[in-house]
Each structure stands twice: as C-alpha cells, then as structure tokens.
C-alpha cells in the first residue's frame, strides 16, 4: 500500500515531471496566464496520462514490440481527441482559451514518457496510479505558475478581482510582463531553484 501511495506522491516533488525531469514545459508556458485554463489543462493531462497508462498496461503483454510506439500513439491520440471533444461540447469557453494545447497533449513528453518507462512494465492498477501522480505533479506546477501570473498580471484569481481598487488608486499597476510567456519560464526557474536544495539533502 505504501508503495502504491509513493507512486502518487513521488511525482509531486522528488520526481516532478516539470521541475525535476523538465518535461512538458511548452504547455506550462502557454496555458498559465490565467488560473482556470491551467486547472482544466492539469485535469485533462491527468486524465490522459492515467487512462493511457491503464490501457497500455492492460495491453502490454500483447503489444508487438516492433510497433509499440505506434500503439501507444494511437491510444494517447484517441484519449486526447475524446477530451478535446468533451471540452468543446461542455466547456466551450475554456476549450477556446486552451485552443491547440489540448490537441498537443498527444506530444506531451510526460504522457509518452510514462508509457515507455512505466506502463509497459507494470500492472494496470500501479500504472493508473503512476499516471495520476504524474498528471498531478505536472498540474501542481501549472496551478502555482498560473496563480502567480494571474494575481500579478491581471489582479484577479479565477476571474474574480482580488487586488482591491484602493490599491490601484494609490498607483498600483498590473504587471503586463506576467501575461507574456517568458515570465512563466522565469517562475518555473524560481520553483526549480527553491526545490533544488531540498532535493540534495
């Protein structure tokens, strides 16, 4: 049981896909200007990694080794298309904000990385948990970055005004740089910097 729990907790910090393995940076820069799309993206990636890990793990004994990457791609692509279609049908405004990045989950290195490194060699339940853990590890960084960027870039959180009007009257100005992708890279860099000494202990 504690081993299974580790599958979920390890990717949150010690083996975090974004800050330790430096995977999935592209979408972490693109969808973190606002908190809401970042949360939806985090959930989408979690669903896709967990389910594709599960499916590939179930199939792992039958998958011909010669075409295993193709089989993995078919499974991931199917799940991503389903997520994209569901978002378009039931969360239209969010799907517009995420635009191409939902489709690009297919190429997210975290998904393929977990399939090759974990699901091909482990049992379904463990693979499923590993997928959840890695999705949440990725998602937690996304949410932290989006929280900082939305708060200082727009003065809002989840679209609600947080920084009081009084502060603006005193001459406070939203930091426009926060909205642009380079700032996400800098924030991720700071998170890695804060996390590093803890890891070396």
């Amino acid at each position: 049981m504690s081993n299974n729990l580790k599958l979920i907790t390890a990717p949150l910090r010690k083996a975090n896909p974004v800050t330790v393995l430096i995977l999935g940076i592209c979408s972490a820069l693109a969808v973190t200007a606002k908190l809401k799309p970042a949360i939806v993206m985090a959930l989408s990636v979690t669903v896709v990694t967990a389910l594709s890990n599960l499916v590939i793990s179930l199939l792992r004994k039958g998958i011909p080794a010669k075409i295993r990457i193709i089989v993995q791609l078919i499974v991931v692509a199917t799940l991503v298309i389903l997520v994209d279609q569901l978002l378009k049908a039931f969360m239209y405004d969010v799907s517009k904000q995420l635009s191409v990045f939902v489709g690009l989950i297919i190429t997210n290195c975290i998904v393929m990385g977990r399939l090759e490194a974990f699901a091909m060699a482990h049992k379904p339940w463990e693979s499923f948990l590993d997928g959840i853990g890695n999705g949440l590890g990725y998602g937690s960084i996304l949410v932290i970055v989006a929280f900082v960027r939305e708060l200082f870039g727009s003065g809002t959180l989840l679209g609600y005004q947080v920084i009081p009007q009084g502060l603006y009257d005193f001459g406070y100005v939203n930091n426009g740089l926060m909205i642009l992708p380079p700032m996400a890279l800098i924030i991720i860099g700071i998170i890695i910097w804060l996390q590093k000494p803890e890891e070396e202990k």
Partner: protein
C-alpha cells in the same frame, strides 16, 4: 511475433478506435454546434450593446432581441428594431481577424463592436478582444478614430481597415434600400 500477428493486431486496434471516436463525435456534435451558434449570438448581442449575456441565456436573449435577420451575400442583423449589426472579416498581423459592428438607426454612430482573432500576439494584438479595446467604439461617430494598441500597430490598422472596407460596402446598400 509474426508479421501476420502485427497486422492483425493493428487492424483490430484501429477498427475499435475508429468506432469509438465516431460514436463520440455523433453524440457530442449537437452540443458543439449549439456552442458555436451561441458564441455567434453572444457576439451579435454584444455588438448591439447588450453585454449581460452568456452561453446559458444567449439563445433566449437572441430570440427576444433580434427582430430581423438578413442572410445571403450581405448578411446583417437588426436588434431591437433599430440597431444594425454587421459581420466583418479582415487581416491582422499573423492571421485573420473578424468581428461584428453595431450601428445606430441612422447609421451614423457605432453602438458597440466585438473583435476576435486567430493568431495575434497575446498581450499585444490579441488585446483587440478585450473590453477595454472594444469599449472605445461605444457611441463613437463613424468618422472618429480610436486609439491604436501600443505595440500592435499592424493589428490595430487591420481592424481599422476591416471596419472601413465593410462599411464602404454596406452603407450605400442601406441607403438604396430606404
């Protein structure tokens, strides 16, 4: 594993996947179509100065306010019997831009306008979709200019050109009709 096994495996897998995806597409299409239609309705109502509208009440509000609808080569919508809303298409810096502009009954002032874009730069050209930008058009006489977005001159010019070209086409048409 023989080649025959590989072929059989991949064909069965692809068959299952395609059935699954087709079923999902058929189930979800009506919802997606409605969302797209609602987005258009929201934009038309916003261009007519009705801002308190979202995906949930779009259909009902649109039916309530849209009194006349012209489709065909020169599409336009009449809101509340007086405001004319015209769709526009143009070019930004990186790709197409589009929107709706609402004109008052005498076609001399802008009621409001909405804009959208395919691939303008976030924080610069993409600012044309913000309320800050589009509110500049509220109540503006047709010949008066609006402030361009700093750092996004080409996108702002594109919007200006789009409005000018569309009105050049529509205004004589409206005059002839009256």
């Amino acid at each position: 594993m023989s080649d025959r096994y590989i072929f059989r495996y991949i064909i069965i897998l692809v068959a299952i996947v395609s059935v699954l995806l087709s079923a999902a597409a058929m189930w979800l299409q009506p919802y997606q179509k409605r969302n797209e239609l609602n987005e258009q309705r929201i934009n038309i109502l916003k261009a007519a100065g009705i801002t308190d509208v979202d995906n949930k009440n779009a259909e009902q509000l649109f039916k309530q306010h849209c009194t006349d609808k012209h489709e065909g080569d020169m599409p336009y919508y009449v809101i509340d019997g007086s405001i004319t809303v015209i769709p526009m298409r143009g070019n930004g810096l990186w790709g197409p831009i589009w929107g709706y502009i609402g004109l008052s009954e005498d076609h001399k002032t802008v009621v409001s306008a909405v804009f959208d874009h395919k691939s303008e730069t976030p924080g610069l050209g993409a600012e044309i979709t913000t309320d800050n930008y589009r509110n500049q058009y509220n109540g503006k006489p047709l010949d008066q200019k609006v402030d361009a977005i700093a750092g996004a001159t080409r996108t702002s010019k594109g919007v200006e050109e789009m409005i000018e070209r569309t009105l050049k086409l529509y205004l004589p048409y409206f005059e002839n009709e009256q």
